[in-house]
């Protein structure tokens, strides 16, 4: 229990610069990574496949099995490619950055309005 309940609980609020930087970083994490992922995916689909996977294209392979393994190998190839994986990780962690950097920005914006109108 707080021995001195009259002490105001002062939590430091980040400033305008920090919020602007946060918005830009999260916007970049979600927006700037997409074209690089697309470029890497297109490049990955055009590279030659190894000989060990020739059985997928064989006529005796069942259609469903070939499709499933084709998708799995495609995902594996793309994720192993750093040109795709690095932007993907940045993009996926965008939500974390969003909550860490600008989770409280709603209150900050309201505070801005209050200061403008007062």
């Amino acid at each position: 229990m707080d021995p001195n309940p009259d002490t105001p609980n002062t939590t430091p609020t980040p400033g305008l610069f920090r919020y602007v930087l946060g918005f830009l970083l999260v916007g970049a994490a979600w927006g700037l990574t997409t074209p690089f992922m697309r470029r890497a995916a297109v490049a990955s689909s055009t590279t030659a496949k190894p000989d060990s996977r020739a059985w997928i294209d064989h006529p005796n392979t069942p259609w469903l099995k070939a499709k499933v393994w084709g998708v799995l190998y495609g995902v594996w190839d793309v994720l192993r490619n750093p040109a795709y994986a690095v932007p993907l990780v940045i993009n996926l962690t965008g939500s974390v950055w969003f909550f860490l950097l600008i989770g409280q920005a709603g209150e900050f914006l309201v505070a801005c309005v209050l200061s403008i109108c007062s």
């Binding site: 305008l16 918005f23 830009l24 999260v26 916007g27 970049a28 979600w30 927006g31 700037l32 990574t33 997409t34 074209p35 690089f36 697309r38 470029r39 969003f98 600008i102 920005a105 709603g106 914006l109 309201v110 801005c112 309005v113 209050l114 403008i116 109108c117 007062s118």
Partner: protein, 164 residues
Amino acid sequence: MCGWMADSRALELSLTVPITNSLAFLFTVLGEWWAEKKVITKGMFHDISLGLVLCSDLRWMLIRFNCRYVGWYGSRPGRYRPLRAFQEHLKDSNQAWHRIASFSSIYNEVAFFPSYTVIITLAFLYQLNKGFSPFLVCVSSTYAHLLKKSSCFITRVSFPVMAR
């Protein structure tokens, strides 16, 4: 403090998601140029500009230069009054003519602008004719917020520094 801050909608306001989404879209345009040297067309640039103007500046300009109240049923000059109070006032006035006229700017005696609804509907029809997609991408999240929280301070929040 302004009287309209008593309106509870102000406390529910959160523009973080639409701002971040709009920034993400602009960063995507930048990334397309960086990664693949793609440049947006003139038409798309116009669409984006139109979307940004409609969603951020229009209501702000209307409020700042012409009227204190900009709503779905028209704009009127004078002191801002929340929509609920405005409707109560109309009910109290108990005159059919006022009820009809309140849905246009005739009620204000001076016609400044057509209602925001009319402007945005015309813009949407124009975009629908052209293919719509870039405009929609840019606008959708912000416009959804405007639909939900159509009160006059929305756009002042978008540019707190400029509003000073």
